[in-house]
Every structure is written in C-alpha cells, then in structure tokens.
C-alpha cells in the first residue's frame, strides 16, 4: 500500500528512518527538551491542547521506535523493509479500514493466559483466545510479528482522516489534522473526509471475514473446542504466514488445563463474532461511547481486558462507553485515553479522539447531537 502523507513516527521525531538506536534515543531526548513542559521554546507558542497532542505523539514515537521489536514491525508497516504483502493484498491503496480482527484477539489471548480466566462469562472466548496466542507476536519480536498488519490498519485509517490536509504541504507534519477540532470551531470542520472515501472503505471492509481464521486454527490446537466453534464460518485461504505463526504457540498447548469448560462457548461468543464481521466503519465514522463499545465487543474484549492492556482504569472506560462526559477527566487527559483506546481497538486514534471530543463538547453546549454512525 502506498504510504500516505501521514507523517511517520520518524517524522514526528524528525529523524531519518535509517537512524541507529542511539540516534533515536538522542532524538527523543532532544524532542523532550524542545517540547517538554520546561521548554522555553514552546512557551506561549501554541495552546496547551496542541502541545499536549504533540507530546502524546512524541511519546508514542519514543515508545515504538525505542523498542527494537516494535520498531521492526513498524518499519514493515510503513514499507521500509519488505513488509508481508499477504496482508497488504487485502487493502488497496486507499482503503482506510483494513481488516483489523486478528491482532486484538492475539493480544487478548496473550493476556488471558497470563492471568488465567476465573470468570465464567469469559469462557465463550476461550478458544480463540487460546489459539490466538501465536498471534500475540504483535508485541513480541519475531519474523512474523503481526505488527505490520496492525500498523497498516492504523496508517490506513489515519490516512483517510488526513486526506484533506495533504492538500496543504506547507505543514511538515499533519498538524492540521492533529489539532483537536473540538475547541476550535463548529462541528462542520471535522467533516473533512471526502465523500468517496467512506464508500471505498465500506466496500473493502465488508467482504473479508478475516476473523474466521482464528477458530479455524483453534480447532487444530485444542480439541475440546472443536465442536462448539463450528458455527463460525471458515475462512478459505489462510495466508501461509499464518501457519508459520502457529509454531511458537505450540508449546502452549499444555495450558488447556487452564481453559474453561467448552460448554460455555456458544453463549456470548457467536453473537459478537457475527457482529464483528459486519462491523463496517465508514471512514467518517463519528465515535461515541456506543460505537466504541461495539468495536470492543466485536473483538470479544471485555472492559477488564482493555483496562489491563491499556492501563486505562475500568471506570474511565465505562464512562467513555456510556458517554458520561461529566464524569470523564479533563480534555487533555481524555484525549490520551481515547488515543490509547483507539490504538487498542485498531482504530484511527486521531479520528476517534477528534470525533469523540467533539461530541462531548456538543453535549456540553447543551445539544445532544451525539451521533454514532453504524
């Protein structure tokens, strides 16, 4: 896929993508000096929100690029190293919302195994969770890390959100798009996504039932689950890489002892899973709590799991999903929460925070214009 005008994390740090680890570290330090709270250079230059946004971006860049494994998969995602084309095939150049299903399961699964499920309600998810373990490579080093796909999802959708501003090359970064709209102007401003994009997104996202691959593999990996999973559609033509990815997971086959009884499986699972297949988000989706909840559930993730992954407290997550704006923290912090959450859900962080905050502001203004597109 063509890498969009969206600035890369390297751009954010203003370094060459070929920089060494040490150079990156120096750049991070420099950036913190330049844009940190102590820095004279940003005093009275822009408002605090803009600065907060930039600082969050810088920290994201630091977090990813200073971790060799995450950096490697990020590099693949932006096409620096031969990224796995298997995934790229699914999303064409202008597909803003590539399939996002697998990795979250993986993460979830990884989590589950660390903290064995105590809870019956989680049981339905046992199979994908168990199996998807190998996919948890997302966050671990390895040649088949799922990073590329994940990041492609991110860059893809960010690209669409950023489309309008690419017409203005004056800005080095996509600052214009990153600037929070909620305090700056009327709602109309946010609706910058060209009309065609949404359709394109829908068209591509819909037909691909990627998720199904999880159960398919699961069958091989874990006996008891086999029968119950049969309701889930099989995905033909698994990417070969997926098979390879299975390998690291095998040792974990021993863990099934920790797995809950299979009979719990069918209950909440199928519904979510079916939903998840059809959860097509237009590029101009406006995210409110309801929509975020549905995306989360489409991954079969519980609030608790998301809370643990993102280190956002469960209370905050609940309030976000319930649109209880008055109980949410100040905008500066809320944005951080939204960005984190969006990343976890493989959504475009900029779009999520922008639209959610806008809705929050509208509600403060008295109107109840909150509209989650479905």
């Amino acid at each position: 896929m063509t890498v969009s005008e969206e600035p890369t994390l390297y751009d954010v740090l203003e370094v060459d993508p070929g920089s060494s680890h040490e150079e990156l570290r120096a750049a991070v330090e420099r950036a913190r000096d330049t844009y940190g709270t102590e820095s004279l250079a940003v005093y009275a230059l822009v408002d605090e929100d803009q600065l907060g946004e930039l600082r969050a971006k810088l920290e994201e860049a630091a977090e990813v690029l200073l971790d060799p494994a995450r950096r490697a998969s990020y590099d693949r995602s932006i096409g620096r190293i031969g990224a796995s084309t298997l995934w790229a095939e699914d999303d064409d150049d202008e597909v803003p919302l590539p399939p996002v299903e697998v990795a979250p399961h993986a993460r979830r699964a990884e989590l589950q195994l660390e903290t064995a499920p105590e809870d019956g309600e989680e049981d339905a998810l046992a199979v994908p969770r168990q199996h998807a373990l190998d996919l948890a490579l997302t966050d671990t080093p390895g040649p088949f890390g799922k990073g590329p796909e994940r990041s492609e999802a991110a860059t893809g959708s960010e690209a669409s959100a950023a489309t309008p501003s690419s017409a203005a090359p004056l800005l080095s970064g996509d600052w214009a798009a990153a600037v929070p709209a909620e305090q700056k102007g009327p709602p109309g401003q946010v609706e910058a996504v060209p009309p065609g994009v949404a359709e394109a997104a829908r068209a591509v996202v819909e037909p691909e039932p990627v998720v199904a691959e999880v159960p398919v593999v699961a069958r091989g990996a874990q006996e008891p689950a086999t029968g119950s999973v049969s309701t889930i559609p099989e995905r033909r033509g698994l990417p070969p890489a997926l098979g390879l990815r299975m390998k690291p997971a095998e040792p974990l086959g021993e863990i099934p002892a920790a797995e809950p009884p299979p009979e719990a499986l069918p209950e909440p699972g199928p519904r979510h899973r079916e939903h998840r297949l059809r959860l097509d988000l237009p590029a101009d989706a406006e995210f409110n709590g309801e929509l975020l909840r549905r995306v989360r559930e489409s991954y079969g993730l519980s609030l608790q799991q998301v809370a643990e992954r993102t280190r956002i407290t469960r209370i905050h997550l609940e309030n976000v999903e319930a649109d209880r704006y008055d109980r949410l923290p100040a905008t500066v912090y809320l944005r951080g929460i939204l960005v984190n959450l969006a990343r976890e859900l493989r959504l475009d962080p900029a779009r999520v925070s922008k639209t959610y905050l806008l809705a929050a502001q509208r509600s403060h203004a008295g109107g109840s214009l909150v509209s989650g597109r479905t």
Binding site: E14, A168, A176, P186
Partner: protein
C-alpha cells in the same frame, strides 16, 4: 489572541518586487534587514548597531535606520549626537532619506535617525508609512539595517515584513519568548491577510481565520481552506507564506541551556507553523555589552575582543552567508 481584521490592512509593499539582481538598473538597497523582537530592552539596538558595524567593516555600504519611531536612540549606541534630520522630514517634508544620512565615524556606515518629537509621529498614517517604505526600498546601499521598536504596531510589523531578512532578537526568558512569538504571529498573519487580499481571496482567508474562534490557525490550514475553491491562489499564498523566513538571534545567553534555546525555537516554529526559520547564532551575556552602552561606544569599537563582540561578528557573517548564491534552495 489578537486578531487582525482585513480593514486594518493597508497597502503593504509587496514581496512581489524584483530583487536588485533581477533589475540591475533599479536603485534600492540590496538587502534590507529589519531587527525586531516584540519586547523592549532585549538588545535590538545593540544588535542593529553592531551588526551594521560588522557589515560595514566587511566592506558593505551600510545604512542604519532607526525605525523605533517613538524611542529612537540608535545614535546613542553609536556614540554620536542626534542627527538634525530624521525620518519625520521624510514624512512631513517629503525629503529624500539619502539627504538625512549622517556619517557615523565608521567607514561605510551611515545613520538615519528616526527620532521624532511630534505627538503622533510614532504612529504615522498609512500614506506616510507607504511613502517611507517606498523610500527605504529605493535607498542606495548594500545593506539597510532597520532597528525596529518594541511592540506589534502596524508600522513595526510592516517594516519587518518589507525586509529581506526579518531578524528576530530574543532573550532566553519567558517574557521575551512570549513577546517574540506574539510579534511573529502578528507579522505572519498580516502577511497572510495582505497576500490574500492581493490575490483576491481575502474573504476565504478571513473565513478560514475566523472559523476557529480564538485559537490561532496554522498557515497550512488557511492555505488549505483557500485551496478548496482557489487552487492557484492557494499556491501563491503558500509561496508568500513560505517566504516568511525569519532569522533568529538569541541574545544574553548565559548557560548551556540558554545556548540550546535558539535551535529549539527554530524546531518548534517549524513544528507548529510549518515554516522555516534560520538561526543566526547566540550572543553571550557579556559585561562588556552594558559597559560599552554606558560609555556610549559601540561594542565592536570599544570591546572588539569581547565574546559578545565576536558573537555579533559571527551573526553578521551568518547573515551575509544567506545572501550568497543559494546553497540549498528550499
């Protein structure tokens, strides 16, 4: 944030005029350098005077113009008495600036004083400003160095904008940085509005500027808004804004942390406004600076060996280097 309505915009000498090299016959200063910074007491006059001296010593014909209309004291920095003729003679009596230039005792360096005593002199009317500007642009010199006053008054900003090199002086202190940014933003948006007006897209620019409430929009956002309906105008607008390439000097640097402020400001300006800035260098905090001011002797004359003096020479060299055949044209 202060906003500038279009009705405030007077005819501003455009950057559309050809450069001297392009039109060899035209009589105008080869390079106009305007020294500003928003805040008072940050060393604008010191920088102007010594920059002028350094340039003159390097063999350029330099005219210093004290454009701090309400608080002119460049002559004091140079250790000469207040010249008889001042810029007010240009404004009120239609004199040519050349006739007002006074010798400074330094070869190649003359001074035009801006001292004005009339009550309204510090705020000349638009027409008078325009006449002044026109004359400045046709002055025969290699370098014309304008020492601007503090604040963001229109004539100060206009002088800054007409210059080939807008030189921003700031101290590594929050107050100075704050005023410097305010000054820069005011200048940038005045340029934006003026250019937009020239291009006939003022209404679009105004709408874009106005649609964000009190927060400052970035140039890119405005260009983008204009581009939606007037792509060609947007291209020109963008070019004009890119031309707004400020030269930075950090004065009174005391610590290594101070030393890094210049680069950080350049980076931050680029990051948030998308525009390049050239860092000309830092000037060390140096007792010689205030001592020579008290003696009413220029630093470069009286304490040429001081570190501040050598920093100033470096700044002058960096400035001249910018005018050499383009190195990396951006």
């Amino acid at each position: 944030m202060k906003r500038y309505g279009l009705n405030n915009v007077v005819e501003l000498p455009g950057r559309t005029r050809p450069r001297a090299e392009d039109a060899p016959g035209s009589r105008r200063a080869r390079r106009i350098v305007a020294v500003g910074g928003g805040k008072g007491g940050i060393g604008k006059s010191l920088v102007s005077a010594n920059l002028g001296i350094a340039l003159a010593r390097a063999g350029h014909r330099v005219t210093l113009v004290d454009a701090d209309l309400g608080g002119a004291n460049l002559h004091t920095c140079l250790g000469i008495s207040q010249p008889q003729g001042t810029l007010s003679d240009v404004i009120t009596h239609g004199k040519r600036i050349e006739s007002l230039a006074t010798a400074t005792g330094i070869e190649n360096l003359t001074l035009v004083s801006g001292a004005m005593d009339a009550l309204d002199a510090a705020n000349p009317r638009a027409q008078a400003r325009a006449r002044l500007v026109e004359q400045l642009q046709t002055l025969d010199a290699d370098y014309l160095v304008l020492d601007l006053g503090a604040g963001t008054s229109l004539h100060t900003i206009d002088f800054f904008l007409l210059a080939d090199h807008g030189l921003l002086v700031l101290l590594p202190e929050p107050t100075s940085v704050e005023n410097a940014y305010r000054f820069l933003k005011a200048a940038l948006f005045r340029r934006l509005q003026h250019t937009a007006q020239t291009l006939g897209v003022a209404h679009l620019a105004e709408a874009a500027l106005g649609s964000q409430g009190s927060a400052m929009r970035t140039p890119a956002e405005v260009v983008k808004a204009v581009a939606e309906t007037q792509p060609e105008a947007a291209v020109q607008l963008e070019r004009s804004l890119r031309d707004f390439r400020v030269k930075l000097v950090v004065n009174q640097v005391r610590s290594p942390a101070d030393q890094s402020v210049g680069r950080a400001v350049v980076a931050a300006w680029k990051k948030f406004f998308g525009l390049d800035m050239d860092y000309l260098g830092a000037i060390a905090y140096d007792d010689a600076a205030w001592q020579t001011v008290r003696k009413r002797r220029p630093l470069l004359v009286d304490a040429a060996g001081s570190s501040a003096a050598s920093n100033l020479v470096t700044v002058a060299e960096a400035l001249v280097a910018l005018d050499r055949p383009r190195s990396a044209g951006r």
